[in-house]
């Protein structure tokens, strides 16, 4: 009885492995180089444009912090508008991480699932799905940063005494 159980287990494992190999034949390997170049160029371009805008705002007499906030706001608003219009998906298909790694990707990750779940209503649908991806990012990021703040505060206290 036990012997046949083990045999079956082994058979299943073999079948699983064979299937994995079979699937691999048909899975196209990603175009690492061209994807990488596209991501680098588009991502670099977004950052350069942001830098140009930041400089213009600072030349106009704005403080560095305020100018940075306005640049972030503009990037977030444009990314979310493009997501609403359905253009961001096409951009992401072309540039991949080039538009996902900048703050534009974070902005897109909020609107994209929220629109899809619109049918579930403005509160439980849109209201909660805005945070499908942004939730984990904010939870992990803010938790880590608060921990950093507390550690720095404690170090300051120890050194101060």
């Amino acid at each position: 009885m036990k012997d046949s159980d083990e045999k079956e287990k082994k058979l299943r494992k073999d079948i699983g492995k064979a299937y994995g190999d079979y699937v691999k034949q048909f899975t196209p390997s990603p175009a690492y180089v061209s994807n990488g170049i596209k991501a680098f160029l588009v991502g670099g371009l977004i950052c350069t444009a942001a830098f140009w805008l930041q400089k213009r705002l600072q030349d106009g007499g704005m403080s560095e912090t305020d100018a940075g906030a306005f640049v972030t706001i503009l990037l977030v608003v444009s990314a979310q508008l493009l997501t609403g219009l359905g253009v961001f998906d096409s951009l992401a298909k072309f540039a991949g991480a080039g538009v996902i790694v900048p703050i534009t990707g974070f902005a897109n990750s909020m609107v994209a699932p929220a629109i899809e779940y619109k049918k579930e209503g403005p509160v439980l649908g849109v209201g909660s799905k805005l945070f499908t991806v942004a939730g984990p990012v904010l939870v992990c990021g803010i938790s880590a940063a608060v921990a950093v703040g507390l550690i720095y505060w404690m170090i300051g206290r120890i050194q101060g005494v």
Partner: protein, 127 residues
């Protein structure tokens, strides 16, 4: 002349560092089984940690928005707010991260909500 050249180099660094972050993200997406949300979390938390140990600030000095616009820059701003707050006191240390990033987060939530209510889902073109 030298001033112009220096100004130009700032743009080059913004391009190279910003593009570099995206290249790393693309490699993570193509070569590993990590999903996009996990990659975003990894980027933000790395930014927090790198800033906490003092490694991110030099990058921001060098590349400006090239280092602040990618998601590690979001982590950098969170940690920077926390560290600056910690110098003022306990409460400021806790409020610092959100204070430093509140403009972006508030707009992303409020404008994202409006956009999601206005627009209807579209399937991507070309499918």
């Amino acid at each position: 002349m030298e001033g112009i050249l220096n100004g130009l180099m700032d743009y080059v660094w913004a391009f190279v560092i910003g593009g570099g972050f995206c290249l790393i993200g693309q490699i993570l997406m193509d070569a590993t089984t990590l999903t996009a949300p996990r990659i975003l979390v990894i980027f933000v938390v790395s930014g927090v940690i790198l800033q906490a140990v003092g490694l991110y600030e030099p990058l921001v000095k060098l590349a400006g928005n090239g280092a602040t616009v990618p998601l590690p820059g979001f982590g950098y701003n969170l940690a920077k707010g926390a560290m600056e707050g910690a110098e003022k006191g306990f409460l400021e240390a806790i409020m610092g991260p959100l204070k430093a990033t509140s403009a972006g987060i508030a707009v992303a939530i409020a404008f994202g909500y409006v956009i999601s209510l206005i627009f209807t889902p579209k399937s991507p073109k070309g499918n």
